[in-house]
């Protein structure tokens, strides 16, 4: 029983990370109908830049803040100079474009930092906490807290503020939004900024628990996308729930079947889901439309 709970706890933590990636995908997709396949690279950069800045003797907090700002900036620049440039491109070109960007970022990261893995100091001590026999790393609690805060803030932004309404307006009908004086380009840039910032934060909080290296982005990206599909590509809440489910399934699979197959499980879930119900567990309004 304790073993089972332990696996569920581990799954919740990794599921939280997938949730942030998934929400990042959805934020950009809903505004600009682009799936940003470089999403995972934002996480990688968040962790790696923080490690590098701490290596330059910057204090932890400042390094993390600078890393978040830098990745946000990269997101904005990517939208402004690359994605916006090929606005009228067909979906195949957009896929190749974001694949190209993610490959480029990964290559540059391996060029700068090499292929070694780096670890970050945990925010609080290394000592795990025992909850009724289930051991939880203190960093895991930080991760879950960060995930919940990000999800809450995003929910508040999207549902309760004028800015969120503008973003939603662009996702529903860009033409009508433009007529109302909202710039879809600006909103798309904002969406890239949000997903850059949240991705970087996620990358920083996971770096102490699982080491970070130039190529962690690919796996995190696909798993986040799997969660987004599972939950329904237009539904952030559904995606977050699906991400936690995926994390738990993966952790149980790793525990009871084989740890080597851990990553394959997420992908099998993805392919299976695409077969049975591509609109996701919680349904989605716009499957097959827009950029797809």
């Amino acid at each position: 029983m304790t073993e089972l709970l332990q696996y569920v706890a581990n799954g919740l933590v990794s599921g939280g990370i997938y949730a942030i990636v998934a929400v990042g995908f959805i934020t950009i997709y809903s505004v600009s109908k682009v799936i940003n396949l470089a999403q995972g690279e934002f996480l990688m950069l968040g962790g790696m830049v923080t490690v590098a800045l701490i290596g330059m003797n910057l204090p932890y907090g400042l390094a993390a803040l600078l890393a978040i700002l830098l990745v946000t900036l990269i997101g904005v620049l990517m939208q402004k100079y690359v994605i916006a440039y090929v606005k009228k491109a067909n979906p195949i070109s957009l896929i190749i474009l974001t694949i190209g960007i993610s490959t480029l970022i990964r290559g540059i990261a391996s060029f700068i930092w090499g292929k070694d893995a780096f670890a970050l100091e945990p925010i609080t001590s290394n000592e795990p906490i025992s909850l009724g026999g289930v051991m939880i790393a203190q960093q895991s609690i930080w991760i879950l807290a960060a995930v919940l805060i990000i999800l809450l803030l995003l929910w508040y932004l999207m549902d309760k503020t004028i800015l969120g309404k503008k973003i939603n307006a662009c996702s529903v009908n860009p033409m009508a939004a433009r007529l109302m004086g909202i710039s879809p380009t600006k909103m798309s840039m904002l969406a890239f900024a949000i997903s850059g910032a949240t991705g970087a934060i996620a990358g920083i909080v996971i770096a102490p628990l699982s080491v970070t290296s130039y190529d962690i982005g690919v796996l995190l990206g696909i798993k986040g996308f799997s969660a987004a599909i599972l939950g329904g590509l237009g539904n952030p809440l559904g995606a977050a729930v699906a991400a936690f489910l995926l994390g738990i399934v993966e952790s149980l699979g790793a525990g009871y079947i084989s740890s080597g197959m851990k990553d394959a499980i997420a992908f099998l879930v993805l392919i299976g889901m695409l077969l049975i119900k591509p609109s996701g567990i919680f349904g989605e309004r716009s499957v097959g439309k827009g950029g797809l």
């Binding site: 190749i96 960007i101 490959t103 599909i229 992908f267 695409l274």
Partner: protein
Amino acid sequence: MMKQIIDKWGKSIGIYLFLMVLFPFVMPDEYYRSVGIIIGLQAIVTIGLCLVMGLAGQISLGQAAFWGIGAYTSAVLTTKYGLPPFIGLIAAAIVPGLFAFILGRAIAGLQGYYLAMATLAFGYIVQIGITEWEPVTGGANGMISIPQMTFFGGSELSMYFLIWGVVTCVLLFSLNLLNSRVGRAFRAIHKSEIAATSMGIDVRKFKLNAFVVSGMFAGISGGLYAHYMGILDPQPFGLHESIKFLTMVVIGGMTSIWGALVGTILIGFISEGLVLLSEVVPGLQGDVDTIVFGAILVLFIMFMPEGLVPRIRTAFEKGQAKKAKGMAEEAQRKQQVERKAAT
């Protein structure tokens, strides 16, 4: 059929054959011949990928997985069960074809991002599967002493001609496909699936066929690769290689079979150049080629989405049209002068 192709592409085929036969004699160095062999193996894969991307308008980010399945199928059959490489190669075409059929059937209704991610995920599953299925595939350590092919003595030169012979077959097959009713159907699908459907084209079936053919091409190439190298490990069959194949098709021009070939040769030499460069420049460790491929993908989609070969062809045709126009004007002027002289 053959006549039509020769009518349409005779000149290109002639140039291709000439350069292909000439290459190993201009470069008598064994090293460059082996580079030529590897490029030929990749060309078989990219021509197949071009059928999927350029004609069916679909994307596959898991082409290296089919390549790997082909390689391991032939390697396992010949090494563990003692079958001759020829039988292994047939299996190397069939098994990935079956995988492509099952996967393709499953995801034939998917488009764009969904298909991209599904094939990406498939690629990962295959690589993980190869690594984990240790009793058969040797796991991360890989397989050794896979029987070499004894084709006209099995020298580097004979291997070169064997592999480029296969490239030529694959090329002619694909050109033929492009030129047939099937090719026209593919182009219709690429332009508008809805219009194609309303014209009675079974879009799903065509996409599936393209996917299966591309899987089989990749498998054959994989089998040849296994017997050429003599050793295998799971490392080359991952995302990195799939992206390399993608870059090759994009740079040459997604909608052109010749583009896939030209792109493969270009990227092949760029990769070789980077390897040589990294030996001279000490700071160039890491994945320099990853940076180059990523940059090529981004720049081409931004500034030359149609790719090199269609771009050059358009420029050439424009030049020809201009020349023809100039000649016509010249003749007209001459005529006028003559008429004036007569009056």
